[in-house]
């Protein structure tokens, strides 16, 4: 069904239309938030809040200016950043020490083995770099959509991702050498 029509109906209070939107967008969005947070309970709260905003603030979405998935990623990204800020857990963008301690990850959300190293390494890079890599690598968002979500130019996005990937490579190679 036409997504624009579903959004219109959802904004008008049609729960069945809203349910279809949730069913379609929940899996990719939950993957994004879980990789951002690496904590099941925190991720759950942010995913729920993101979709409740679709219900309560759906009228603010402009179908012509962005895809719904971009709009939802934008909300989720901002909620993640707000959460890290409120809890004093932001990783400084200027961090030159890639091997910082992070909060404990939850095994339910990842496969065994190397995935844990990657999750740990992901949590050591600044949130905007992490978000950019997740959106481009896992979510399949285009560079322009990702730049829109992060509120940066495409050039700045490339810089963020390049720095993030370099830190990831460094952290992962350090982990393997330690093992």
């Amino acid at each position: 069904m036409d997504e624009a029509n579903l959004i219109r109906r959802s904004v008008g209070g049609d729960k069945s239309a809203y349910q279809l939107l949730v069913e379609h967008h929940l899996p990719p969005l939950s993957n994004y938030v879980m990789r951002m947070m690496a904590n099941a309970a925190e991720a759950d709260d942010i995913i729920q809040e993101t979709f409740i905003r679709l219900w309560t603030h759906g009228h603010k979405y402009n179908h012509g200016s962005a895809k719904l998935t971009t709009w939802l990623h934008n909300i989720a990204h901002n909620l993640c950043i707000d959460y890290f800020r409120k809890n004093d857990r932001l990783v400084p963008e200027s961090a030159d020490q890639p091997d910082q301690e992070t909060s404990g990850p939850e095994e339910d959300y990842i496969q065994q083995g190397m995935a844990m190293d990657i999750q740990t390494a992901m949590m050591t890079i600044p949130e905007r770099q992490r978000s950019a890599i997740i959106m481009c690598h896992y979510q399949g968002l285009s560079n322009k959509d990702t730049a829109t979500v992060l509120g940066v130019s495409v050039d700045a996005l490339e810089s963020l991702m390049a720095r993030g990937r370099r830190k990831l490579r460094h952290n992962l190679s350090t982990n393997w050498q330690e093992q």
Partner: protein, 146 residues
């Protein structure tokens, strides 16, 4: 597209061609086919993408239903839900909502009816009230000199 830009693409977007900018993808692939250095660079950068692919997440079961259950309920639905919690059919809700003013009117009417009742519970007549007032009013009689 040149080798410098190709390396910048790998640096930022990795080795998955679907992740490269759409407008540069074809040119990058053409360079990759023609330049052995590009192939070597791809091999160098590939391991990170493979490691990233190992990081799989899954949607928590029941989360979709949890979201639907937590939607804010409109005020009128809250009132009806409070009045009649077990209304199973949505079709009755407008009818019940429409009858609320009638019920409210009946309640107000019943509560103000008490002021028209005297202590014995019998209904007063307005004409009788005015007549009794007139009898009590001595000012209508004028002054009498004795």
């Amino acid at each position: 597209m040149n080798i410098t830009r190709f390396q910048q693409l790998l640096d930022a977007y990795g080795t998955r061609e679907k992740n490269w900018p759409e407008e540069e993808r074809e040119a990058a692939l053409a360079l990759l086919r023609s330049d052995a250095e590009c192939v070597s660079l791809m091999q160098h950068y590939r391991s990170l993408d493979e490691q990233l692919d190992d990081y799989v997440t899954r949607t928590p079961p029941g989360l979709g239903q949890k979201i639907l259950n937590q939607l804010p309920v409109p005020l009128i639905d809250q009132i009806i839900g409070w009045l009649i919690p077990d209304v199973s059919s949505q079709i009755w809700r407008p009818a019940i909502a429409g009858s609320l003013p009638l019920i409210l009117g009946m309640i107000i009417g019943a509560s103000t009816m008490g002021s028209f009742l005297d202590d014995t519970g019998t209904e007063n007549n307005w004409d009788e009230e005015i007549y009794l007032f007139a009898l009590d009013d001595t000012s209508l009689m004028g002054s009498v000199d004795e």
